[in-house]
Symmetry: D2
Subunit: 366 residues, 4 copies
C-alpha cells in the first residue's frame, strides 16, 4: 500500500532552511512515517544560492517570491524558516489557503501578531519548530516529571548563553535588527527557554524582567533576565544572552523538586542529570545519564546505545512527530497555540522591563 | 623577640564556634602571625556542652553571659558567632569597650542596625566572617579580574543552593525563626553571594527581588531571587535557596567579561574555571584550574600543589589576614563598612520583594 | 559539468550497513564531493529485511550472494560491512575485479590474512572504516600534535569500555563467536584504540598483553589489556573490554607530552580537553574545547559553532575524505596498509598473551 | 578520669613531618581519642629549621640523631617520616625497644627489608601511613564493596599521575636517588595504588610490569605500568608516573563489577562516583556523591554535610583510627604486615620489568 504524499514548500535558505531540508531527507530513514514526502519547492531571495541549495538537498523547484507559493494547489505544507517579521504574513496566507504550516520560532514578533496567526491556523495542522522538545534527554526529562520522579517542583532555572554578541568581526545580520527580528534574545533565545519551561513545568503566572543592550547603536536586546512565578507554586529564573563569553550555545536548565533534581545542557545534548532524593541520603548524587537508550525517547530510531546523536536530529524527530500527529488526527505540539503562550510570557517580559514592575504573564481570557 | 598577645573571647558554641575555634588553633601553624593568640574564654548558653567544647579546643575559661565578657579588661578581641539578632548588641558593646570585634555574617538583621554597628566599630579593628573571600580560588579569581584577564564585565551570575529546607526530619533551629535570624536565606546565603559580588564586581545599583517561603507556618524566606544592575554596567542574577534539592552547599558564581569567563563552585572549592577569550578561537575552552599552587593565593601556607584544602581553611586564612592588617595598621576586609554595603543590598531586596518594583541598592549618602 | 558517478555495492545489512547507508545519503549534503554516488545494490543474507532496508535507504537492488556482486561490471565500489571472517574473501575478490574497496574494521582476523588483503588491494583505492579518525575532536587532536602543541610524548593511555558482555539478556551474536569474528574485543575494540594510537603517536614497537574471557563457554576474549612501547620513546597502556559495567561506549584516550596534554572520550565526541603546559603555571588547566568550530576539522561542513554532531557524522566525513583522495589520486587513509599495521599489533598482543612475554609488534620486513 | 598519655617522637622534618605534626594537633579536636598525646620530641638533621618547626607545632624538644630517640624510656611511640632507606633501621630499632611504630610509606625499599621490619614489629602496635584509606570517599567505597553494591569485580583500573618529573627547574631531592628512595614511582606512587587495591579488591596474584626512566642520568623509575590478575578473578591495570603533564596529584581508580561501578580521584577527594547497575537501564548513570555526610565515614567528625575537607584530614583520621585500635587491643590497619603485601607486589613488578615476563606477586609462604 502506498503512503499518501505530502508536497512541501520550504521558505528560507539560511541556517534553518538547511536544518529543515536535512529533516525532510532524514526523517524517512529513521522513522516509519505515515506519509511520503515530496520536496517540491524551496523559496528564498537569492536565486543563485537557492539553486545550489536545491541541488544539494533535492528540492525540485526554486522560487523567489513566497506569495507565489502559499496558495499553490500542488503544495500541501508550507514550512517557514525566514526572519521573524515575515512569519505572520506567510503563515496566515498559507493557513488561509488551507496548507499545513510549520513555522520557525519565535512564532511572532508580538503576542498580538501571534494571536492572529493562531486564529488563522485553527483549521490546519500546524507546529512551531521549538525543536529542543525533541532532544531525547529533554523528552526523557518530561517523562520523568510526568512519572512524579521529582515530585512537586520548587525551583526552575534556565539559561541560554551565547557569546557572539561580543564578536566585533561578526557581520551584521537580521537577528540584531528590530525591523526583521522584532526583538533580540527575547524572541531568539528566551523563547526557547520559555517553551521548554511551559512544557516541563506548566504556566508562568507573572514575571519581572530586565532587558539590556550592550552594543551601542543596536535596537534590540542583547540580554534578557527574568524572575518568574509558575502556576504550580514554583519560582524560576531565566537568563538569555549573546554576551556570555565562554559559551557557544549553552541552553541549560535545572529543576529542583521535593523528590529530586533534573539538569540539562544542550552542548551535551545526549546527557541528562537526574538526582533521586527518595533513597538513602548517603547514596544521593546527580546521575549522569547518557540518553542514547535503551528505553529512552527516540533511541530506537537512531543508533545503538552509547552512540550519540547531534543537533540536527531534533528537527528530524520533530518532523516525524508532526506527521504522526497529522495522520492520527491529533494536534501536533508545540503548535501555534502553545507558541502563543510563550509569546505572552515574552510580551509580559517586555512590559515588565519597560515599567520596572512585575507583570502578569497571561490573560485569563487566553 | 616575643610577639604581642591577643586575648580572645569567643561568643558562640555552635557550628561557627567550632570553625572559629579551629581557626585560632590552626592559624599559627600555617601563617607567621604578628601576634600570639590566647584563647581566653568561650561563651555560650549551655554550660555543660560549653565545658566540653572548651576542653577540646583549649579555651581557658567558660562563661554563659556575654555581658560579663565584652568589657573585661583582660580581653582584647571579641568574636561573635551567635544568632544574628545578637550581633548588634554584642558588637556595639564590645566595640564601645574598645575591643577588636570579629562578627559572623550577616553583619546585622537590617541595614539600620548595621549602620549603628559600623558607627560603633569605627575606632576598633573589625571584620565580618565572610570567609569565602579567602577561598584560594576566589581570591585568585579576584586577582585575575584585577589583572584585566576578563576585561569589562557583562554578566554576573550567582547561586547559593542548599536543600535542607525540604528535610521534614530536621529539627527546627534559630535559622528559620525571624526573631533570632532576622531573615531566612536573605541574611544566611544571599549575604554571602552579595559580599562576593561586591568584592569581585563592584557596587550594585538597583535590584528586583522575589522572596518566597515554601514551608507553611515559617516567618522567614526560604528562597531569594534577585536581578541586579551593577555600577560597572554589568547585569546580574542571584539565587539563594534552601529548597534546591540535589545540592548540599553549592555556592557558585559565573562571570562573563569581554575577554574571558570565570566560574567557581564551593563544593569544589579547590577549583576555578577560567576561559581566556583573547587567544585563537579554536583553542578557547574553560580551563579547570586546581588552585593549590604554585603561585596561587595561600598555597604557600598550606600543602604542596595538588593537595587540596577544605572548608575550614577559609577561616584560618581570614583570621591570619585580619591579624596581619591589625599589625600593619591597615583596615581589615571585609569589615563592618564593607558588610554594611551588603546589608544595604539585602534591604533593597526586601523592599523590592514587598513593593514588586525595582529598588535602589544604595544611597549616595552612605 | 556533471560529476562522474561511482556505483556502490554495499554488503551488509546490520548496524554497520545502516551507518554506511546513511553516509552515502548524507555525504553529498554536507560535502562538495568530486563524484556522484549511485546506491546500486545492497547485499545481505535475509531478503525480507534487505528489501525493507533498500526501500528506506534507497538502494536500487537487493542481492543475497556477495559473489554475484563483486565482479559485476556495473559496480565501481564494494563496501564490506559483514562479520570479520568474510572480510578477506570479499575484499580480495572485489579488489581482484578492480573495484574500489571499503572494508569495516578490523581489516582481518589475523595479520597473515591482512597481508593477503593488502597485497590484493595494492592497485585499487581502498579504505578501512576506522571512522573515529574523522571525529572532529580526534582530527583536531592530530592537528595539535602535528603543530607540536604537546611536544615530545611521554605517555599514551587508551581505553575502550563497553558493558554489554555482562548483560545476561543479550541474544548471542557473531561478535562473540570465533568462527565469525576471529577474536573478541581484540578485533572489535582494541583495533580502534590501536588505529588511533598509531595515527596520533606513531608505531608501537613491543607489547605485553593479557586477554581474558569472563563468560563461561565463550571462545573469544572479553577483555584485552596491553602495555606498549612506542618508537618515539613514549609508553602506553591500552584496555578494551565488554565488562566495564557503567559505560556504554567509552572510547577514550589521554596523551601526556612535555608541553601539554590531550584527552578525548567518544561518549562526548564533540569535546576535546587540551592542557597547554607552556604558559604560567598558575593558569594551567585542562581546557574543555567544544570542537564544533570555528576553525575545527569538518566544522564548516556541518552546523554552526555550538551545534553538536553525532556518531554517524564520522562515517559521512570518512566517505567524503575517501572520495576526495580518489579524485586527487592520493592514497586514502586509513587504508589496508595502515590497517595491517594495526593487525600486526593485535597479532603481537595475542602472541604475548599466550606466551606471557613481551612481543615485538612489527617486523622490519613489513 | 584522665586519659592515659602517649608520648610521641616524630622523626622527620619535611612535608610529611608537617602533615604528621598537624595530625597530632588536630586529632583531639575532631575525635574523642582514648589517649592524650604528648608531642615530646621532633627529630631531624637540620637543627635550625627543626627548632622553628618545633616552635610552630609545639614539639617540646628537638633532636638531630634518631638513635638518641628510639630507645628513650620517655617515648611511647616513634613516628618515622624520613627517606625510605631509613625506614628499616629506625623502625626495627624502635620496635625492638618496645615502642609503637608509625612509618611512612612505602614500608621499605624491598620486600626482604619489609619482612625484617614486619618481624621486628610483631609485638608492638604499628601502622604504615597509607593515608588514602582514610579519605572518606575511599572508605565509603570499601563499605559499598563490602555491602555487595557492585558485586563480583571484573576490572580494577588505577592511575597515580604527577607531572613534576618534567619540571626542569625543580631542585633534585631524595625521591629521585636510589640510595635514599630505593626506587622511583614504584615505592612513592605505585605503592599507594597497590595498598588501596589490595584493601578494596583483595590479593594480586601475578603481574606484568614496565618500568621506565625518562630523565637522563636518573637511577630510579619515573613511570611504572602494571597489568595484574587478582585472586578474585578480576584483572587490573596500574599506572604511576611523574611525567603525566597536566596532573598535579591525580590518584584515581575505577572498579567495574557485575552490579555496578565505583570511581575516585584524589584531586576531588570529597567525591565518589557510584553507578548502580541493578535498577532500570534508562536510569543508570554514574552518581556524583559528595562524601561529606550524612552517613559517610568520618563525616560526623569534621564539618556539616556539603562542607568539604582536605588532604590533611586523611592523616588525622588515620591517627585516630590507630589510637582507637590500640586502646581496643585490635590490630591497626594498614600495619606492617599489610604493607609487606604491597611490598611483595612491588617486588614482583621489579622482577617482571627486568625479565619481561609475568611474575607471581606473592609466595604461598608469606
Amino acid at each position: 500500500m502506498r503512503k499518501p504524499t505530502i508536497r512541501v514548500a520550504l521558505i528560507g535558505q539560511g541556517f534553518m532552511g538547511r536544518a529543515h531540508s536535512n529533516a525532510y531527507r532524514q526523517a524517512p530513514h529513521f522513522f516509519d512515517l505515515p506519509f511520503a514526502l515530496d520536496c517540491r519547492v524551496i523559496c528564498g531571495r537569492n536565486r543563485e544560492s537557492l539553486e545550489k541549495m536545491a541541488g544539494i538537498w533535492g528540492w525540485s523547484q526554486v522560487e523567489t517570491d513566497w506569495r507565489a507559493i502559499v496558495g499553490r494547489p500542488d503544495i500541501d505544507l508550507v514550512d517557514i524558516a525566514v526572519p521573524n517579521a515575515l512569519h505572520a504574513p506567510i503563515a496566515i496566507a498559507a493557513a488561509e489557503s488551507g496548507k499545513m504550516v510549520l513555522c520557525e520560532k519565535p512564532l511572532a514578533t508580538s503576542a498580538r501578531e501571534g494571536m492572529r496567526m493562531a486564529e488563522a491556523a485553527r483549521l490546519v495542522p500546524n507546529m512551531v519548530w521549538f525543536n529542543y522538545r525533541r532532544v531525547p534527554a529533554v523528552a526523557f526529562c518530561r517523562r520523568l516529571i510526568d512519572e512524579g520522579r521529582i515530585g512537586k517542583v520548587f525551583h526552575y532555572r534556565a539559561t541560554y548563553l551565547q557569546e557572539w554578541g561580543n564578536d566585533p568581526d561578526r557581520p551584521p545580520g537580521w537577528k540584531t535588527q528590530r525591523a526583521e527580528a522584532g526583538s533580540g534574545v527575547l524572541g531568539d533565545l528566551l523563547s526557547h527557554l520559555v517553551d521548554t519551561a511551559l512544557w516541563l513545568n506548566g504556566p508562568i503566572r507573572e514575571v519581572s524582567a530586565l532587558l539590556h543592550t550592550f552594543a551601542p547603536d543596536r535596537d534590540v536586546d542583547d540580554a534578557a533576565l527574568l524572575l518568574a512565578r509558575f502556576d504550580n507554586g514554583s519560582i524560576g529564573t531565566f537568563e538569555a544572552t549573546r554576551y556570555a563569553v565562554g559559551f557557544r550555545n549553552r541552553n541549560a536548565f535545572e529543576i529542583h523538586g521535593e523528590r529530586g533534581m533534573l539538569r540539562f545542557n544542550l552542548e551535551d545534548l545526549n546527557r541528562l542529570e537526574f538526582l533521586d532524593a527518595t533513597g538513602p541520603r548517603n547514596l544521593q548524587g546527580a546521575r549522569n545519564l547518557l540518553v542514547t537508550g535503551p528505553d529512552h525517547p527516540y533511541a530506537a530510531n537512531f543508533w545503538k546505545p552509547g552512540h550519540i546523536i547531534g543537533y540536527e536530529h531534533t528537527f528530524i524527530a520533530a518532523l516525524a512527530d508532526f506527521l504522526k500527529a497529522v495522520a492520527s488526527g491529533e494536534a501536533p505540539h508545540p503548535n501555534f497555540d502553545d507558541a502563543l503562550r510563550t509569546q505572552l510570557v515574552l510580551d509580559a517580559a517586555e512590559r515588565s522591563a519597560c515599567s520596572k514592575t512585575w507583570q502578569q504573564a497571561y490573560d485569563e481570557a487566553v
